[in-house]
């Protein structure tokens, strides 16, 4: 009787899993279906309805994801995996293990699925308005849906290899989206740059995967029965005391290599330069690439591979995060292109997340990923509305006072500015950004404390940037929406964006607010994941902070109010244009230099252009030269010598041998003919050469064998 009940329960659990699995599969595949349908039916049948169609399909996908999330969370389900074999990898005689495609579902998966589909839906709706009138309107939705599909594939991946497959597909689709207006030079270069830099990161990923594959064998390929492949790896490592005590070099290298993939996708230093250039794409693209999807993938990957990162690898991750964080925030302070400000702000926030993951506060990093997705997507959409209304003028020097003309956009932008600044009082705030960023800083505090010495940089870096962030955000807000218009003509033509654009903005702003932990349980949703990840005896993961601790620290107070202060300073400085800033620039020594450096993006683009692009091209030219005059030269010289020899034998044959018979007069003419080396003549020579060769070969073979 007892067993029967258990069996019944089991089947109930399985049935639930089955439902969730189906929902997730549908949520993932629907965007692909929509993309393919728009591709083939778009221009002929759907036409202007392509946008609506894509939105509807995306809406269904979102509904599936939300349903799955509810079912998974409310049912308190265990994480599960589902796999179908894809590529056979034979590990010896006893049979194949496989590279699997499939699905892995845990709290993190369903949370991110809901987030990605939701934001993608809003971006789809926004695009209906933004892309209106574009001559490749349908094609845009095809790419956008395909891009969403690739990202969902990453989130649901049940192993590193599947993750890599979709990782690359995200690269491809982002290439298409960034280069959407490929008639112009800027997008052409930007999309190529994005793809190649991502591929550099991907190479690292492949190498890391290869090293893990060698060291852990099939374990890297097979997902664990109850969890993902990542768990399987962690369990494999956790079981080995020797590895836990002295993390081997190869593991560190493998971890760093895998993280290199994340550096590429999440645009961390030193592969960060593609992200600001990617602004060349249509603004909806920026809003999805820089919020919920592509750049999020890197953070997601780092969080997933967290258990296999050794302490040394953690340090590496933190250093990369810190550099990106500080550098990008400085650049964001000086840019005048509104989208570039936001792009560098994205970089900086990604730096926060990476630093958070590295320092062990990866729950908050993921939380920040979600909150950031909402407010950054909203900020980009607002900027897109402004740009679209301002006839594609992106420079904030021509804006000013737009709040009167587009109040709703200004409202959404304002809310998100407050959110990204992390405004709060004590340990309470109505803005989600406060909680997530705070958690990260708390994590870095613990980490810095543990390291001691120079390690305190890992704490002070994020704190200082937490001061800078409100400043540059206030700057962009004030320059765009406040003060007097600096370009009257532009001002006169601006009006509020159409509903399809404003509504998504407002919804996103609302999401940015209600994602606070006391309303939406994002944090708990991710919390569960941590336990399954850490309960594998991986002993070097410790001291992961929870929010319970942070009430005891004065930090939040310091940080929430400071945000408000810097916000006020930013608005005061820039509400009347650049006057005060320029005055400051003149008066404070050394500031000008820093300003020029930051404005030129610390010359990374120049550096890379000279050292990588030019050098590779130069190298290619050298190879081509070697090919032409070296390898091919040898071949040609051999050919010429043979020809010379042939001429000689030909002449000898005609002049001497034939001449003996036919006399001197005939032989002269025959020699002339041989000189001309007509086609049949040459072939005869070659055939005779072939026979000579054969004879030599025979002799050679004989000596080899007998001798």
């Amino acid at each position: 009787m007892h067993t029967l009940i258990t069996l019944a329960q089991l089947t109930a659990v399985e049935a639930d899993q089955e439902t969730v699995r189906k929902l997730l599969v549908w949520a993932t595949l629907l965007p692909l279906v929509s993309s393919i349908m728009v591709l083939f039916l778009g221009t002929r049948y759907l036409k202007k309805q392509a946008g609506t169609f894509a939105c509807v399909v995306m809406g269904i996908s979102f509904a599936c994801a939300i349903l799955a999330a509810f079912k998974f969370t409310s049912g308190n389900m265990e994480s599960f995996t589902w796999k179908i074999p894809w590529i056979p990898i034979y590990m010896g005689k006893d049979g194949a293990s496989w590279l699997y495609l499939g699905l892995f579902c845990d709290q993190l998966t369903v949370a991110l699925m809901a987030m990605v589909t939701g934001i993608s839906l809003l971006v789809h709706i926004y695009s209906v308005g933004y892309m209106e009138g574009d001559k490749r309107y349908e094609r845009f939705f095809c790419y956008l849906s395909a891009f969403t599909f690739s990202m969902l594939g990453i989130v649901t991946a049940n192993g590193l290899m599947q993750l890599f497959v979709f990782w690359e597909l995200v690269g491809l689709t982002s290439y298409l989206l960034i280069g959407f207006w490929f008639e112009k030079k800027g997008p052409q270069l930007a999309c190529k740059k994005a793809f190649v830099m991502n591929r550099v990161g991907d190479t690292g990923f492949l190498i890391g995967f290869g090293i893990l594959f060698v060291q852990l064998g099939g374990k890297v390929l097979v997902p664990a029965a109850d969890g993902s492949m990542f768990d399987a790896i962690a369990a494999e490592l956790g079981g080995k005391a020797a590895i836990m005590e002295h993390p081997p070099m190869w593991l560190t290298v493998a971890g760093i290599c895998l993280f290199f993939g994340a550096i590429g996708k999440s645009a961390q230093f030193p592969l960060h330069t593609w992200l600001p250039d990617a602004m060349e794409g249509p603004t909806p693209v920026s809003s999805i690439v820089h919020s919920a999807t592509m750049v999020a993938a890197g953070v997601y990957l780092t969080a997933r591979i967290f258990p296999i990162l050794t302490p040394a690898a953690h340090l590496f991750v933190c250093i990369i995060g810190l550099i990106t964080l500080v550098m990008a925030s400085m650049m964001a302070m000086v840019m005048t292109d509104i989208k570039r400000v936001l792009a560098y702000s994205t970089l900086s926030q990604l730096g926060y997340m990476i630093l958070g993951v590295g320092s062990g506060a990866y729950i908050f990093a993921l939380f920040h990923l979600i909150t950031h997705a909402f407010f950054k997507c909203c900020l980009f959409q607002c900027s897109g509305s402004v740009i679209n209304m301002a006839h594609h003028q992106q420079d904030m020097r021509y804006y000013g006072g737009l709040a009167k003309k587009m109040p709703l956009t200004a409202l959404a932008y304002g809310i998100c500015t407050l959110t990204i600044s992390g405004i709060g009082i004590g340990s309470f705030s109505i803005f989600s950004g406060f909680y997530s960023k705070d958690g990260i800083i708390l994590g870095t505090y613990n980490y810095a404390h543990e390291l001691g010495g120079l390690g305190s940089l890992f704490f002070w870096g994020p704190v200082i940037v937490a001061y800078i962030t409100p400043f540059y955000m206030a700057r962009s807000f004030a320059l765009t929406f406040l003060g007097k218009p600096r370009d009257q003509h532009l001002y006169d033509h601006v009006k509020e964006a159409p509903k399809t654009m404003v509504v998504p903005q407002l919804i996103l702003a609302l999401c940015a607010i209600i994602s606070v932990p006391w309303l939406l349980p994002w944090e708990q949703m991710i919390e569960v994941t941590r336990e399954t990840l850490v309960n594998k005896n991986v002993t070097w993961i410790q001291g992961i902070p929870t929010h319970a601790e942070h009430h005891h620290i004065a930090l939040p107070l310091l940080f929430g109010l400071a945000g408000a202060l810097m916000l006020a300073v930013g608005i005061w400085m820039y509400k009347d244009g650049f006057g005060k800033a320029e005055y400051l620039l003149k008066k404070v020594p050394g500031l000008k230099l820093l300003y020029t450096w930051a404005l030129n993006k610390f010359y990374f683009d120049h550096l890379y252009d000279v050292f990588f692009v030019k050098m590779t091209k130069c190298f290619a030219a050298i190879c081509n030269f070697i090919d032409k005059w070296g390898f091919d030269g040898l071949v040609n010289v051999a050919g010429h010598w043979t020809k010379g020899l042939a001429w000689f034998t030909g002449a000898f044959d005609n002049k001497v041998v034939d001449g003996l018979v036919n006399g001197a007069a005939n032989s002269a003419r025959a020699g002339g003919q041989a000189l001309r080396t007509t086609q049949p003549g040459r072939i005869r020579v070659y055939v005779s050469l072939l026979f000579v060769g054969l004879v030599i070969a025979l002799m050679f073979a004989m000596t080899l064998v007998t001798g």
């Binding site: 056979p88 590990m91 497959v165 492949l206 590779t616 030219a621 070659y686 080899l704």
Partner: protein, 513 residues
């Protein structure tokens, strides 16, 4: 009843060739198309009748040919041959489609092409060294004329270079063959002298070629000689310089078959002859071969980047991509072999497609200077879409056929670290090979930007839009690239048993844990 089908497969194209020559010239195209469709159907029947799970050759025909020196006519089909046969048959139909508009004596063109087809089939099914050699040479001669007569401005140079270069390789092969024959004669064999590939893989002969064996010196020489013979065909840099010239001068359909199938003869022969016959020499020199392969990958990619001739760029990309084949074989792991084989199939599809895409434009623009193109995507959106599929498949994007081969070769390379004491070398080789992926992305995207992106040029208005025939070829290849990118099991289910056997012959079953 299907036992003799393989022989029909080989000789049907010959009959077609004769028919092309005898019947009126304007019928030649139809005859050739009919013949190739018949062979394709035969291939399908063979594939359906093929017993999956058998490692040995099937549909075997053995006849005495030259009894005095024990030369046999022995053909058979196993897992190593079948996918390549299918590739050949399928491509041959498309190639005839691509050559539909050949104006200059189409009957001779088609006859030569069908003769070439016979040669290719023969190479992939021969189980006797002499027979293999004969077919290897037979495939050479039609190619010489196809390039030399129907080619571009420097056709004579390219044709002769191709012919002689490959012939030089063949001589290396011939030397080894003669040597092997003598070895079998000097040893005490019940069977006596033999050229039979299967007989040569038996342990008794393998023992002679092992380090303790009597003919270890010979085996080492023979390994390198056969390696060079086939390396020229693949082509492995630095033996590749015939390839860009041949490709640039050859007409589009011939480029397609050259890159799509003829290069695979090299890789196939390495797997069929060099490695199973001299496994010990191979594992002695594997590092050297792997270095050559990786050099080829990077060097080919860099050369491709420097090209301004579109077709030459694609030709050099072949050098780079076939480097992965060599690498996969060189590292002596199961995954590497599988990957190399899959890379051959994948490259067969993508390279044919890339050459065809170039050909479509060349036919209209009459030049191939990359920098003088631009905005082709806007002019022909559909063509642009299929081009993207083709070139990105060549780049090894997941979901397309180039990816699986590349990734498996890379994994196989890393896998080699398991059997050596110090894995540093393996890691370096693997990392460099992986870096080739970045260079590939670099030159393909750069080319793609210069040719397809940007504003359209006014002269495109005069171009005839790609025809239905051309789209049919593009779509077939594109869909194939997709299918083989998604379902690799289509190939591996056929090859598995044979590769298991091959691995035990090479003696690696125990090495790859």
């Amino acid at each position: 009843m299907y036992e003799s089908l393989l022989n029909w497969l080989i000789f049907t194209p010959c009959i077609g060739a004769v028919a092309c020559l005898l019947l009126p010239a304007d019928k030649a195209r139809n005859i050739a198309l009919g013949t190739s469709i018949i062979t394709l159907l035969m291939t399908i029947v063979l594939a359906l009748e093929f017993q999956i799970g058998h490692s040995g050759p099937q549909f075997v025909t053995t006849l005495q040919w030259i009894p005095a020196i024990n030369v046999q006519y022995k053909v058979g089909l196993d897992g190593l041959s079948l996918p390549l046969i299918v590739l050949t048959s399928a491509l041959s139909v498309l190639v005839i489609g691509a050559g539909w508009k050949i104006e200059k004596s189409p009957n001779i063109f088609m006859a030569l092409y069908l003769l070439l087809l016979s040669g290719m089939y023969g190479v992939f099914v021969s189980l006797d060294l002499v027979l293999f050699y004969v077919f290897f040479e037979i495939s050479l001669l039609p190619m010489y004329f196809l390039i030399g007569v129907w080619g571009g401005p420097r056709k004579e140079y390219a044709a002769i270079k191709f012919f002689l270069y490959t012939l030089a390789g063949s001589i290396c092969l011939l030397i080894t063959m003669l040597g092997i024959y003598n070895v079998t004669s000097s040893a005490d064999f019940v069977a006596g002298n033999t050229w039979d590939m299967m007989a040569l893989q038996t342990p008794a002969i393998q023992a002679l070629f092992s380090p303790e064996g009597e003919y270890w010196n010979f085996a080492r020489w023979a390994f390198w000689l056969t390696f060079i013979a086939f390396a020229i065909k693949i082509p492995v840099a630095p033996f590749h310089t015939w390839l860009p010239d041949a490709h640039v001068e050859a007409p589009t359909p011939i480029s397609m078959i050259l890159a799509g199938v003829l290069l695979k003869m090299g890789g196939y022969a390495l797997m069929r002859i060099t490695y199973p016959l001299f496994p010990d020499a191979a594992s002695l020199y594997w590092e050297c071969v792997a270095c050559i392969a990786v050099f080829g990958i990077l060097y080919g990619a860099l050369c491709a980047m420097a090209q301004t001739d579109w077709k030459k760029l694609v030709a050099y990309s072949s050098v780079s991509h076939m480097g992965y084949v060599t690498l996969g074989i060189a590292v002596l792991t199961r995954t590497g072999f599988d990957g190399a084989y899959y890379q051959m199939i994948g490259h067969g599809i993508t390279s044919a497609m890339m050459f065809f895409l170039v050909g479509v434009v060349y036919e209209r623009a009459h030049h191939r200077e990359i920098n003088n193109f631009g905005g082709l995507w806007l002019a022909w959106p559909k063509y642009g879409g299929w081009s993207m599929l083709g070139f990105f498949a060549g780049m090894g994007l997941p979901g397309l056929c180039g990816f699986i081969g590349e990734v498996m070769v890379l994994l196989g390379t890393f896998q080699a670290a398991q059997r050596v004491e110090d894995p540093t070398f393996v890691y370096i080789i693997g990392s460099l090979a992986a870096f080739g992926v970045v260079l590939t992305a670099g030159y393909i995207l750069w080319m793609f930007q210069r040719i397809y992106m940007g504003k359209t040029r006014p002269e495109y208005d005069h171009f005839e839009k790609p025809t239905g025939r051309e789209y049919a070829i593009m779509v077939t290849l594109g869909v194939a690239a997709l299918i083989f990118g998604i379902a690799p099991i289509l190939v591996f289910s056929y090859t598995n048993a044979t590769f298991n056997n091959l691995m035990s012959v090479i003696g690696l079953a125990g090495l790859t844990n």
